[in-house]
Symmetry: C2
Subunit: 346 residues, 2 copies
């Protein structure tokens, strides 16, 4: 019965399973009965420890109850402790506690959970952090990097967490961090607009369509306006001048392919996040920028667009860093958090 539920969860999250996200740890009996859960605006994510591996699963927040059904068989009455973060940890707290019948439920501050998760993944999990580098043919362009020995070497860094919305967090140490900005043009915007514009039913269908699209059918390039580049402004003919502007020029008569629409919007949102991230990092004099959040989903085009945006705006001086478990920082942080660190929400 338990397996059936977990298999269902796997079927619904093929990309996660395919990417072999499970992390194998030395057996720690004391942690068997912990569950970390991160309930965001669009997605709920959980992390638990079973058969010597950290296991990951996610579901749309709207389907939270089916998620809880998957977790129920894992709960040991009276001994399983739940550590919950994300906005939904407050909104759905009573419901989750009643449904799961956990021994206790600690609510963990969202940013605190993110940073605990980031620190663990950066320092304890081999090949977790990677950069995009397609300069070597036939090599996977997601190239793992060795972080400097001793985490303190890499402070301060900026963590860009891209979920439904986007948060920019300045991190000065494991216990010292601050939200310095954000944008509401995030994953929810991409998914919401594509729900209205395409027949795609979930994130993965949208990303698959984006893979097959050509954004030049919708986006107006500098060359479309000038007939060439505009060297005095440093703009080449292939620079995008205006996302989606061709849809207006061609009016309501033209039908655009859902794949082209998906690709244009994915690039527009991703590039804008990169530009804002760079400007915030510059504002706060921060060298290193890490990108995380369920928006990224290991998707090449998203990662390449963000990476190119950071390179372009920093004139090649900054690099975007990514996490292999990018959607699970908060859930991992909740899972690992110490109960005394839980916060009340007031």
């Amino acid at each position: 019965m338990e397996n059936a539920h977990i298999e269902n969860a796997r079927a619904a999250h093929v990309d996660v399973q395919n990417r072999s996200l499970a992390i194998y740890l030395p057996s720690e009996k004391t942690r068997v009965n912990r569950i970390g859960i991160d309930i965001g605006g669009s997605l709920a994510k959980c992390v638990y420890f079973k058969d010597q591996a950290l296991r990951f699963a996610s579901v749309e927040t709207e389907k939270l109850d089916s998620f809880l059904d998957i977790l129920k068989p894992l709960v040991c009455d009276g001994c399983t402790k739940l550590f919950a973060t994300g906005g939904g940890a407050f909104k759905y707290n009573e419901h989750v506690v009643n449904e799961l019948k956990v021994a206790s439920c600690s609510r963990i501050d969202e940013i605190e959970a993110l940073i605990i998760g980031a620190t663990f993944l950066m320092t304890q999990v081999p090949q977790e952090v990677f950069v995009w580098d397609n300069s070597v043919p036939e090599r996977d362009p997601m190239v793992p990097i060795e972080l400097p020995v001793g985490v303190a070497d890499s402070y301060p860094y900026m963590l860009v967490n891209i979920g439904s919305g986007v948060g920019f967090i300045r991190v000065d140490g494991p216990d010292k961090f601050e939200r310095i900005g954000g944008t509401a043009l995030g994953g929810g915007t991409l998914w919401g607009l594509l729900s209205l514009l395409t027949p795609a039913k979930n994130f993965d269908e949208m990303l698959q369509m984006a893979n097959e699209g050509n954004h030049h059918n919708l986006d107006m390039l500098v060359g479309d306006i000038y007939g060439s580049g505009y060297p005095r402004m440093g703009l080449s003919a292939t620079t995008t001048a205006s996302f989606f502007a061709k849809a207006f020029k061609q009016g309501g008569e033209t039908q655009f392919a859902p794949s082209d629409i998906s690709r244009s919007l994915l690039i527009a949102i991703s590039y804008n996040i990169a530009q804002l991230a760079y400007l915030h990092a510059h504002y706060h004099n921060i060298e290193r920028i890490y990108f995380a959040g369920s928006y990224i989903r290991g998707h090449s085009q998203t990662i390449e667009t963000i990476s190119n945006g950071i390179k372009y705006w920093s004139k090649g001086e900054k690099t975007a860093f990514f996490f292999r478990h990018e959607g699970y920082l908060g859930a991992v942080g909740a899972f690992l958090s110490h109960p005394s660190k839980s916060v009340s929400h007031s």
Copy 2:
């Protein structure tokens, strides 16, 4: 015949006519036969001097020929000089010259034209520049401001020109300026996406719909995620967390009103431009930010959103300034430019 054509132009641009954009100048015979034209990615704008007034007209670039038909009766064979700027001045140069049979056509660099226009409007036209201030009930919140006597007092400023795309221009003096950034999430994006999402056929229908919409039907607020605000992050319950995220949560079954979609997208694009503008101004240590371009169109909601964005991100330290003739800076600049300032495009 000439009047009939001009009346047609007026009928197509009611908002412009209603806002009484005509500028009355002392009679200057030498300028009667000049036409300034600014052909952008989505809109063509022109300025000419007739009956002691500067007159303004615009048309979608796709309909350029009907625009030229309006201008033809104004051209005096062998004596009218055309001054053209914008990307289309390069792309459509030969066509425009052949159609209008002008004595000469000088192409003016786009940013140069913008700055000439901005300087003229700021310094020579009373009540041109205004700010948004709705703190006094029953007063028009577009409050004209007196600029410092002597333009040099206000340098450097940043000019944000919002057309199909958006350019950020640092202006250090009448002849000293530089494009320091931009975004392709601009007017073309708003108009293009709304062409795909709503039945609106032109900008003014889209803006009218936005006036009647409620963006809370589509946008996910902090309160929708947390059930309350998140004081530790400085986020109130009514802060927008993710534009359009409710469209995803509610899937393909829900129909959303075109007015709500228009309002959400107008706010999303306008607020993002304001945030990027503020960050670029801070990056370059610039105090004053002016917003121009046909995107704004004197529309209260656009102006209020941009103004609030600048106030929010600058913690009340910066104010957004606007132009009453916001869409015509380039055309005015072309109209006023000295032929020796025209540039070749290479």
